[in-house]
């Protein structure tokens, strides 16, 4: 596909325009320190976005339960590390990934067996998981997370001293996000499993007929989303250095919107990791821009709404133009284009 026909291209242009505008108003935007900060704050949603992308490609409405899974796995992992008095971050990730995969797989099993749409099933499991967390934790906030979370969240690459004496550098969270994106890209582009996800998103009946094991593929996708939610949960705990039972839920629509803005189809079979990344970055830059421009954060939702409409319109306009210029009939005597 030609570059200018891709929704990623329009998103990139939109991001560039916004960056130019913010920089013109506040040159601090384009400093390394600020860019590192934007990347760090975008990481959790960025990791979620890869999972959301997989579900959208598989087709049949988005998953909305991932924030609840992240919330539960984060809480359990933090509790576990507190209980053993330390441990290390790898153990936290392992617990969150395994638990998240199991919780996600349950979504997949219900969807496959009962043939219910994803959004309905995941609204149910969202409430189930989130509710259980509240019941079992009694809403207790874990204000202090064990040492390994501080270490992981505080590690900085390319660290240097800023003008005001504060040390800044690239956090490990964007690195983790990058790793997740590379894994996602590899699965989608380079494995038969990934192509089977696309095949099911294109036409599930046809996929069955060419031998795709739809149950296995669906189970993988939802377990993968759950595992990524676990990863995001740990990343989030390392970022905010606490485990609050309701600190993640609520991001689901924003993440889904970011991925759709990045070119993923709500009807399945279409979407890229790059697009999902750009969608998440757009929102993170907007949020950051409002801070730098001294605009009330209440305006954030408004700008998000405008950004989605702009992004969608650019995309739709491009498709409309392509359709208008399509030659249905080679009319005799008509001047060629």
């Amino acid at each position: 596909m030609k570059l200018f026909q891709r929704s990623e291209f329009y998103l990139l242009v939109l991001i560039a325009l916004i960056c130019i505008f913010i920089t013109s108003q506040n040159p601090n935007f384009l400093t390394l320190q600020n860019i590192y900060g934007v990347l760090r704050s975008a990481s959790v949603n960025g990791i979620f976005a890869v999972g959301v992308l997989f579900v959208l490609i598989l087709g049949g409405t988005p998953d909305v339960s991932f924030p609840a899974i992240a919330q539960v796995t984060q809480y359990v992992a933090v509790l576990a590390l507190i209980a053993i008095g330390g441990g290390n971050i790898a153990l936290a990730f392992a617990i969150a990934i395994v638990l998240g995969a199991v919780m996600g797989a349950l979504n997949g099993i219900i969807i496959q067996v009962f043939r219910v749409t994803t959004i309905v099933v995941t609204i149910a499991t969202f409430n189930l998981y989130f509710g259980m967390l509240y019941v079992l934790s009694r809403g207790d906030v874990l204000f202090e997370v064990p040492r390994p979370f501080h270490d992981f969240g505080g590690t900085l690459l390319f660290a240097r001293e800023g003008a005001n004496g504060a040390v800044y550098g690239l956090s490990l969270l964007p690195v983790l996000w990058l790793a997740v994106m590379i894994a996602g890209w590899f699965i989608l582009r380079r494995t038969m499993l990934g192509r089977s996800i696309f095949a099911m998103g294109g036409d599930e009946v046809s996929a069955v007929r060419i031998g795709v094991n739809t149950f296995a593929v669906r189970l993988f996708v939802f377990a993968f989303v759950g595992a990524l939610a676990g990863v995001a949960g740990i990343a989030h705990a390392s970022l905010v250095l606490s485990a609050i039972p309701n600190s993640i839920v609520g991001v689901e629509l924003e993440v889904i919107a970011a991925v759709v803005l990045g070119g993923a189809s709500l009807f399945g079979g279409k979407g890229t990791v790059t697009g999902a990344m750009l969608g998440v970055l757009l929102f993170a830059i907007l949020r950051n821009g409002l801070v730098l421009l001294n605009i009330s954060s209440y305006w954030y939702d408004v700008t998000i709404g405008v950004a989605i409409i702009l992004g969608m319109s650019a995309n739709a306009w491009q498709q409309l133009r392509a359709r208008r210029n399509q030659v249905h009939v080679a009319v005799e005597g008509e001047a060629p284009r």
Partner: protein, 496 residues
């Protein structure tokens, strides 16, 4: 010689309804067997059993003399049996190369994708049947004819021994059909057994070595050699002789045209289309797919309005900028693809029939007068002889012929001045076709103007009084049907 596939005494019933009763069937390697039968005669069930999608209740399947027990799809593919489904079973979002190669890479249990190898597998399959399609094109962007080539190429990625084609020509234009039939003959030459399912009798006569016919789930006999004639085949299918009734127009020469089109033009679609349609007329439009015939119809119905030109209804200027204006002007359109464009498939037969006259049924209010609706539904079900036990049954449960009657009926409720029919009998069996023609003839006799667009020359010649030959988006010629034979028309269309 031992047949490649031999079925003995196959029976299958669904919920007590017999779909297949004691069916015997054989196909030899290097033979083209045409399987015929009206809608609901059991052809699809038979295919599903042969391809391992569904098990038979009783009877045996033998492949090269060996009995196959509990056949699965994978096992039948290993035996070299492949089906080209009517819906093609392609993934529209994937590339040509992937669509062709994926089944094989899955079968081989690969885990990683080698794009170069995928393209190579696809290229080899395409070379084998002489298809030239860009392997990197997205399948959904291709015309249906090429999509079908992709599906056939996919069958060639395995050791193909028996190819089953389920109504492969239903959505192809004439050039594409000729290409396909040539390909099928060539496969026969290589010793591949072929089961070819179609409703089109001229194709059967053209390509078949043998015809086997199902009726009500039973094999009612086969024809070969010199017995493969139109009349013998129709008699075998229907159990009786069906004589087509040619249309004879009754036009009052003093009446003004119901529809006048002057210099209608739409960029990249058609140009300078000019014609008149008189009340009581059926005007045939003949032309290849891509000649602009469908585009003209869509413009008249406001679906894709023209850029310039004049349309008059009953002598009055009538701009048509959208579907609503066309409908209010009294134009009705029965589309090519009734399943996606013409019907609410999940909805009741009755609801579909009245869906165009809901405003009349509410009498200006917001509630539907259920009594009037029921009366109207009963009236139209009777008038069109729609076979349905209960008008609240969903349309999708009907056979193709009955579905088509519902689509036409939906428009007849509005008493249209102009009815445009685009491929009205595609996928409809012979007996049901005769009913549809009768309905259309009657409508014309009652004073409506009818435009009939069709791929089938005999259909146009039998059911029109005038014919427009369309090519390259322009009306090339106007023919009097009386002076045109189906062969002539076929030749003129093919030459265009």
């Amino acid at each position: 010689m031992q047949p490649y596939l031999q079925l003995d005494g196959i029976s299958k019933s669904f919920a007590g309804v017999h779909a297949l009763v004691d069916v015997d069937l054989t196909v030899n390697s290097g033979e083209i067997l045409c399987l015929m039968g009206e809608n609901g005669s059991g052809k699809s069930t038979l295919i599903k059993i042969v391809s391992g999608v569904q098990p038979q209740d009783s009877g045996t399947i033998r492949v090269e003399g060996q009995e196959v027990h509990d056949a699965t799809t994978a096992e039948m593919i290993r035996h070299g049996i492949q089906v080209i489904y009517q819906d093609l079973s392609l993934m529209p979002n994937l590339t040509v190369a992937e669509n062709i190669a994926m089944a094989r890479t899955i079968r081989e249990g690969r885990r990683l994708v080698n794009w170069g190898q995928m393209r190579q597998i696809a290229q080899e399959a395409m070379d084998r049947i002489g298809a030239r399609i860009d392997p990197d094109a997205t399948v959904g962007d291709l015309p249906v004819g090429l999509q079908q080539m992709v599906a056939i190429c996919r069958a060639f990625t395995s050791d193909l021994r028996l190819l089953i084609l389920d109504e492969p020509t239903a959505s192809l234009n004439r050039t594409e059909i000729e290409h396909l039939l040539a390909l099928v003959r060539e496969m026969r030459g290589r010793g591949i057994a072929i089961i070819f399912i179609t409703h089109k009798i001229d194709e059967v006569i053209d390509v078949a070595d043998r015809v086997t016919c199902l009726r009500d789930g039973r094999n009612v006999g086969s024809l070969t050699g010199g017995d493969l004639t139109y009349d013998r085949i129709v008699a075998l299918m229907t159990g009786r002789e069906v004589v087509p009734v040619p249309f004879v127009a009754r036009i009052d020469p003093t009446q003004a045209p119901v529809l006048s089109v002057r210099n209608l033009t739409k960029r990249h679609n058609f140009a300078d289309v000019t014609f008149d349609l008189y009340p009581g007329e059926i005007l045939g439009i003949a032309g290849l797919l891509g000649s602009g015939r469908t585009e003209i119809a869509k413009a008249l119905f406001g679906f894709a309005p023209a850029d310039s030109g004049e349309i008059r209804i009953g002598g009055k200027m009538q701009p048509i900028r959208n579907v609503r204006e066309a409908v209010e002007a009294g134009i009705a359109y029965v589309p090519e693809n009734r399943l996606t464009e013409g019907l609410f498939l999940q909805k009741a037969v009755g609801d579909n029939l009245v869906s165009n006259v809901i405003d009349d049924l509410t009498g200006g209010g917001i509630l539907i007068d259920e009594e009037r609706k029921a009366a109207m539904v009963t009236q139209w079900i009777d008038a069109l002889s729609i076979k349905v036990a209960d008008p609240s049954a969903p349309v999708r449960s009907l056979s193709g012929g009955n579905q088509q009657r519902v689509v036409i009926g939906k428009w007849l409720t509005r008493r249209p001045k102009v009815l445009i029919l685009n491929g009205p009998t595609v996928g409809v069996d012979i007996a049901a076709k005769a009913y549809i023609y009768e309905i259309v003839h009657n409508l014309a006799h009652e004073g409506a103007g009818v435009i009939l667009i069709s791929d089938e020359a005999p259909e146009i010649v039998n059911n029109s009084n005038r014919i427009l030959l369309v090519r390259g988006g322009r009306v090339q010629r106007e023919l009097e049907t009386r002076q045109t034979s189906a062969q002539d028309l076929h030749r003129m269309v093919a030459a265009s």
